[in-house]
């Protein structure tokens, strides 16, 4: 269980550009929750995930993961428990290393790195089995440089790397936004499949309202650093994009602005 209490984060404190990006957010993520997060540009979605992952430290508030206070523990320490996938497919993998070497890095995410050498055949079998779940035929090219794969393939491998060691929380930050529509749909389906099969707890930022409604068991809408809507169960199932837009306008008193949401 992930508990966030009264979290605050400002950037550029003390300058004219000071911005209160996360405004007293409290949120409890239950085990097995798959939360989709939507919100206008600059609402603070990425910042919230970055605070959970430890990329940034909050100004105040508390983050507790499975009873452990991780508010100020380093990003590297938290990486043992948290999988984080970003929008840019180039960011999630080491381009010059082989597929199997990338997976080996991910496989050791929770362990201390020693001087033991190479990748065992037993490990390789695991990688092959996991890669075959992607349905891209990559299980036959373990010794291929990741940099030679397409954006969608890379993002699929990144997803696998984030979940190879079961994370306590999986954070997906618009991880299909840079892909073409067809590939994006495939990677999204795959994400959903992995999350359900491995019974993961996940938070997924998306700019696609329909996807936000279709996937997951809970939907959160953010605006100006706050959570303005938190729906689950039947309430979420019966949502439509129309209703979401109206809810947004009611809760924020503004029109929904998200360039990409309006485009898609």
């Amino acid at each position: 269980m992930l508990e966030i209490k009264n979290l605050n984060k400002s950037f550029n404190v003390g300058t004219v550009n000071e911005k209160h990006v996360i405004n007293d957010i409290s949120l409890t993520v239950n085990d097995g929750d798959f939360i989709t997060i939507i919100g206008s540009n600059g609402a603070g979605k990425s910042t919230l995930l970055n605070l959970i992952a430890g990329t940034y430290m909050p100004d105040s508030g508390k983050i507790v993961l499975d009873g452990k206070n991780i508010t100020f523990s380093s990003e590297i320490k938290r990486a043992k428990d948290i999988g984080h996938v970003f929008q840019d497919p180039m960011m999630g993998t080491a381009a010059d290393m082989w597929i199997e070497e990338n997976l080996a890095l991910a496989y050791r995410r929770t362990k201390k790195r020693s001087l033991s050498w190479g990748i065992s055949n037993k490990e390789r079998e695991i990688y092959k089995k996991e890669l075959s779940r992607l349905g891209l035929g990559l299980e036959n090219s373990l010794n291929k440089k990741i940099g030679l794969l397409s954006g969608g393939q890379r993002q699929a491998v990144t997803l696998l790397m984030a979940t190879l060691q079961k994370p306590k929380v999986l954070l997906l930050d618009e991880h299909t936004a840079a892909l073409d529509p067809k590939t994006a749909a495939a990677v999204l389906t795959l994400s959903d499949q992995i999350i359900r099969e491995d019974n993961l707890t996940a938070m997924m930022v998306t700019h696609n309202m329909q996807n936000a409604i279709d996937y997951g068991n809970r939907l959160i809408m953010m605006h100006a650093g706050r959570i303005i809507l938190d729906l689950s169960g039947e309430e979420k199932k019966n949502l439509t994009v129309e209703m979401l837009l109206r809810q947004f306008e009611k809760a924020s008193g503004e029109e929904f602005v998200n360039d990409r949401a309006l485009l898609s």
Partner: protein, 309 residues
């Protein structure tokens, strides 16, 4: 005509300089960090070795101590870069400048200290028939040391820690999200590289210069880069394993030294011209990707124009 002896000395010197090049390869290619520290570490290795030998220490032991001094320089650069967030190039320059003072102190305020006692070269010479030329000795030791380094590094960069260092150089953000302490990996890589560079300085002092010179490090980063790039241009054309890539680097160092030796036999060239020649080689090699891109662009444009007609 290239004389045989020119080639022989190119190979002999190239093998000793190849050690430095392997050190440069670790930072420049693996860590993606152009480490200028080495311009101070190279004379540091020489100075420590020569001064210790002159105080009566066994040359092998003195060389080993030099190899322990090198990593301290790497550590200093690593801390400046990772803890104090000073850009890599500047961190290296700071260590390099500081090392100048350190080296002068080690050499008791002298710019040159000749080896007065024994040296690894002299010890190795006793294993060969009397009158064996210097090039043979350098070549033998160079081959042994380079082979040992390639084997050790091939092993090390295949370990979990070694892979974490490679990942850090390749994509540090992703590495952190995989729980890799990227700061620590950068520091380990810099220390390892500087140990190797100090070894190279130590051996070149013993086999080639016969002394430690406080200015011997000048331009070593560019020499290292030139050798790395020459090796890659000649030998790397597809996916190769790590040992082969290190071998290409050694080969590059030999080619570089041979080019320099040959150039120096051409009348009209002076020893001091080496630096501008090296700079030109590196500048050309580093700009190859731009030329390639431009050529590809031109091709595309011509094609587009044809189709437009």
């Amino acid at each position: 005509m290239i004389r045989l002896v020119t080639l022989q000395s190119g190979i002999a010197q190239g093998l000793l300089w190849a050690i430095l090049t392997i050190g440069v390869y670790i930072t420049y290619r693996i860590l993606d960090f152009a480490d200028l520290t080495i311009e101070g570490t190279f004379p540091l290795g020489a100075a420590v070795t020569v001064v210790l030998i002159n105080s009566g220490m066994n040359p092998f032991l003195a060389t080993a101590v030099a190899m322990l001094a090198g990593p301290l320089a790497g550590l200093s650069t690593g801390i400046l870069n990772t803890v104090f967030k000073i850009p890599g190039i500047l961190s290296g320059i700071l260590s390099m400048i500081a090392l100048y003072s350190v080296n002068i102190r080690i050499m008791s305020d002298k710019a040159t200290v000749a080896i007065a006692g024994n040296s690894i070269k002299k010890i190795v010479a006793t294993l060969f028939p009397a009158g064996t030329v210097s090039n043979t000795l350098s070549t033998t030791v160079g081959i042994i040391v380079c082979a040992a380094l390639i084997a050790t590094l091939y092993w090390f960069f295949g370990t979990e820690t070694g892979c974490a260092i490679r990942a850090t150089g390749n994509n540090s953000k992703m590495s952190r999200s995989m729980g890799i302490n990227t700061d620590m990996m950068t520091i380990i890589g810099l220390m390892l590289s500087n140990a190797i560079v100090a070894l190279s300085g130590s051996l070149i002092a013993q086999f080639d210069y016969g002394s430690a010179l406080v200015n011997m490090g000048q331009g070593t980063i560019v020499i290292g880069l030139a050798s790395v790039i020459i090796g890659e241009v000649i030998l790397i054309h597809k996916e190769h394993n790590f040992a082969y890539r290190l071998f290409s680097v050694v080969f590059g160092a030999i080619v570089y030294r041979t080019i320099i030796s040959v150039v120096l036999t051409i009348s009209g060239f002076k020893a001091t011209d080496i630096k501008i020649i090296t700079a030109i080689i590196v500048a050309i090699a580093l700009s190859i990707p731009v030329f390639k891109e431009k050529a590809a662009m031109r091709k595309k444009r011509n094609l587009a124009m044809k189709e437009g007609k």
